[in-house]
Amino acid sequence: MTTPPLKHIVEAALFASGTALTLEQIRALFADDERPQRDEIRAVIAELAADYQTRSIEIAEIAGGFRIQVRIEMTPWIARLWNERAPRYSRALLETLALIAYRQPLTRSEIEDMRGVTVSTSIMQTLIEREWVRIIGHRDTPGHPALYATTRTFLEYFGLRSLNDLPKLAEPSAPLPLTLTPPL
């Protein structure tokens, strides 16, 4: 059996994995003596991206890796596959998540100080269960509170290349955003 072209192996891996793969994860699929260089993989990924121009899918660079995703124009039809609404998240949860994303690592009581309210246990539990947030250590202060940070899954879920890809925070001196509370 002849070895398939590199492009096919990379494509098959991205199709089968379902999540973003880094260049190193792709390289690990090959035996030592046939392992491609990072640049070679980059090149075939660029070729694939060009091939998909006329298809329903695209390659996105996410969380330090690459993944194949359905083009967003298809969402109205594809969303019906599951016949269920996508989960919605409360403002409290999203504010907590945003704080962790921008200010990580930080403790729960630091989050509470910033938001001015107690953070409910179920919010932290949801964030950890969704694997958007994890405990990366403990602060060296009395009580050794846990330090929270975002994960690679968070980047993948929200389609971010890296934390630098987060939208810039408004300047502190900027006028108040006029967006009122979202409708209930």
Partner: protein
Amino acid sequence: MNSPVESIAFARIAGAPLLALPQDLYIPPDALSIFLETFEGPLDLLLYLIKRQNLNILDISITDITAQYLAYMELMTALRWELAADYLVMAATLAELKSRLLLPRASSADEPTADDLRASLIARLQDYARFKQAAIELDARPRLERDLFTVHAALPLGAIQRKQPEVDLHDLVIALRDVWTRVDHLTQHRITRESLSLRERMAEVLNHLSDGMTHHFNALFDPREGRAGVVVTFLALLELLKSNLLELLQSQPFAPIQVQLRTASPSIQITVDDHASA
């Protein structure tokens, strides 16, 4: 300072007049949930009060904002007590700040000045406003499950045996026990249909008033039922008012509120079940 109650009368949410206490106890049915859910905390409420007046954070009047804040708090406290702690801390901060502004003290090096306190409150508000906005932007990003879907090609049959995680029955039982424990824990803070039905309570209130006499507003509440009970009774009263089955009487501002059946209609016969859920 205005009485808190009077200030509430001028409260608006999303531009619509919300309350006119105590002249008329009518609250739009969704107002209650707006109050319970709109504000994410004291900072959020303060931002709202500032925004409502089209003020820049830097220009706020501590005196005005404190008065308005306390008025809202009074109402929120009446509706949902567990909010009070976080909000109380802010109320204390504001009151402290206001008193320092009004009564300049002999300056002492190690005590923050009123200007310092004001500046630090403003900084907190600005910071909170930025993250509130960031959360809205995060929510708007195309995300998996809702807007974006990754591809999943299947594997050829029999070609690859993917290793599957092992689970034993014991794990399953433990998992379920965890859920039950949590449900138990959560239910203590929740109004459940079974124990405190709104419709049932509406019927009880009507029954209570069926003698045709006027009753003290306060007498309709049973403190032994706790906060949840008070809220359900309150909601029941709002529902009954909305459907014109009750009327509220008050001889003068701040006098005790009286409740009685609307005299024209002996409408106790109306089955409460017909009442569409608002």
